[in-house]
Structure formats: structure tokens, C-alpha cells
């Protein structure tokens, strides 16, 4: 994997992988839709609304995964000062924000018929809303600072500080008495979901995860191009 740390090699790798990743994401998402909307039976308690879980759960995991990825990249920025680490952090932010928004929106739509309310200020929902606001915060901070190296450092610090929210989201259902149900997939003792619901969930999770990686590679490639152009402009200005 270390050879990918070179921006030029990374761009070549992304060019080669992206068409295949796009195709794989399309196939998996189509299979997920078929599994989730046609094959999966209605739940005995939730009825048809269980189908919302097939997009809500993967979106939530990718929202949290996006911030975790940004936190690892932020370590790369602060400790090793690697340019690709900042590119990865920058590319992951809008993706994580989009999936976090989807988790909040689909969760709210699921909550109305199931709980009888669109929103409650319980631990899980509130900590997830904070995650969404933090995504907007890091994107805003980066956009507000003109000097790229300074922006990268400050965004990395904010990202690492904000990582505290990830374990809070995960364990909020255990620490506090929440309306949100406890963990049913990532739990000790294995998933507590029937296979007829678990299989579509896994297929959708795979599909949306591959889409996330595909868009991440594409955005990283674009950002490398933008930085290369900036460098060329600077060199041209210095030479003139």
C-alpha cells in the first residue's frame, strides 16, 4: 500500500480502478434495491418501514466511518505531514456529511410511523446531529482559510478533537436511556437480526460502501489535479 502514497502513482491507480469500482457499486446497489424492496419480507413489528433500515443503517455507519477515516488522515497530516493524507481528509468530508445527512433524514422518516415522532433529543440522535454539524464545521473552516498548509493543520486538529463524538455515538444507547434501540449488528455475540433482514442489509451496506470508496477516489483524484494546477500557476508566476 505504501507505493500508493505517491500522488502521481495514486492518480494512475485511481484512473485504473474507478471504472471497475463504478460498475461494482452499480451492481451492488441494484442488488441491494432488489433485496430490500422486493425480496425482504415486512417485519413483524415494523411492517414495511423496516425497508428504510436498509439505507439508514449503512448511511449511519458510513457517516461515522467517514469521520474515522478523516481522523486517521489527520494523524497523517500532523505526524507525517503527508500531502495525500490531507487530500484524503478533504475528499472524505462532503461524502461523510452527505451520508450523515441521509442517516438523520431516513431515521427521522422511520421514526414518525414507528415512534410517533420525527425527532427526539435522545443521546444517539443528538450525538449524530453533532457529527453532521462538525462535518459542516470542518468544510467551512477549510474554505475560510486561504493558506492550504495552515488550513490542513487546523482542520486536522479539529477533526481529531471531534473524533470524541464517534465513541459517544456508538455507546450512547448503552450509556443513556434512549428511545433509539441498542446495537443489533456490531455487538458482542453477533447480529440479533433474522437472516431475511440481515442479508439485504449487508448487500446494501456493501453497495453504499463501494460507492463511498469510488467517490472518495474520484474526489481525491480531482483534488490532486487542483493542487497540481495551483503549483503550476505558482511556478509560472514566479518565472514571469
Amino acid at each position: 500500500m505504501m507505493w500508493l502514497a505517491n500522488p502521481t502513482r495514486f492518480s494512475a491507480f485511481a484512473d485504473a480502478v474507478l471504472p471497475w469500482a463504478c460498475a461494482l457499486a452499480t451492481v451492488l446497489i441494484a442488488a441491494g434495491l432488489w433485496q430490500g424492496l422486493i425480496v425482504a419480507p415486512p417485519d413483524y413489528q415494523q411492517g414495511e418501514t423496516v425497508r428504510i433500515m436498509f439505507i439508514h443503517v449503512p448511511s449511519a455507519l458510513l457517516g461515522m466511518g467517514g469521520w474515522t477515516l478523516m481522523s486517521i488522515a489527520s494523524l497523517g497530516v500532523l505526524v507525517w505531514r503527508h500531502p495525500l493524507a490531507d487530500v484524503a481528509a478533504q475528499a472524505a468530508a462532503p461524502l461523510g456529511a452527505a451520508f450523515t445527512f441521509l442517516a438523520l433524514a431516513t431515521g427521522s422518516i422511520w421514526g414518525k410511523p414507528t415512534w410517533g415522532t420525527w425527532w427526539v433529543w435522545d443521546g444517539r440522535l443528538t450525538s449524530f446531529l453533532i457529527l453532521f454539524i462538525m462535518y459542516l464545521g470542518v468544510m467551512g473552516l477549510r474554505a475560510a482559510i486561504d493558506e492550504p498548509a495552515r488550513a490542513a493543520r487546523l482542520v486536522a486538529i479539529l477533526t481529531l478533537v471531534g473524533f470524541i463524538d464517534i465513541p459517544i455515538i456508538k455507546f450512547s444507547v448503552d450509556w443513556w436511556n434512549t428511545l433509539h434501540q441498542p446495537a443489533s449488528i456490531l455487538r458482542i455475540g453477533g447480529p440479533s437480526i433474522h437472516p431475511s433482514i440481515l442479508v439485504p442489509l449487508i448487500v446494501n451496506m456493501l453497495g453504499l460502501s463501494v460507492l463511498f470508496v469510488t467517490l472518495l477516489l474520484a474526489l481525491m483524484r480531482t483534488e490532486l489535479m487542483r493542487r497540481r494546477l495551483r503549483g503550476l500557476r505558482l511556478r509560472a508566476a514566479e518565472a514571469a
Binding site: 502513482r9 425497508r51 480531482t222 497540481r228 511556478r235
Partner: protein
């Protein structure tokens, strides 16, 4: 007209589709715009060789 639980399911999938299609379109549009800007700059200043050299040296950023 969709009723009851089906309407909620439809709303959730519709919002997801809109957001994801928008995300894909934005990603593609920014890539195309940056690629054009880079190509135009290189063409204007004749720096294609410089870019290639930077690529070989691994100083692409």
C-alpha cells in the same frame, strides 16, 4: 396515491436517491472542470513537459 407505511418508505428512498445522484453528479462535474482547467493552463503555457516531469518525480502536489 401512496398511503401509510409505503409513503414513508418511498420518501426515504427518494431522498436517498436525490442525495446520492446529486453527489455523483457534483463529483463528476468538479473532476471535469478541474481537468479542463489543468489542460487549458498547460496548453496556454506549454507546460505539458513540466507536468510530466513533476509526475515522474512524484511531486504532483
Amino acid at each position: 396515491m401512496l398511503e401509510g407505511q409505503t409513503a414513508y418508505v418511498f420518501a426515504a428512498y427518494a431522498i436517498t436517491a436525490l442525495v446520492l445522484i446529486g453527489l455523483c453528479a457534483w463529483t463528476f462535474r468538479t473532476y471535469r472542470s478541474e481537468r479542463r482547467a489543468l489542460a487549458a493552463f498547460e496548453h496556454r503555457t506549454g507546460q505539458d513537459d513540466l507536468t510530466a516531469a513533476a509526475g515522474r518525480e512524484g511531486t504532483g502536489t
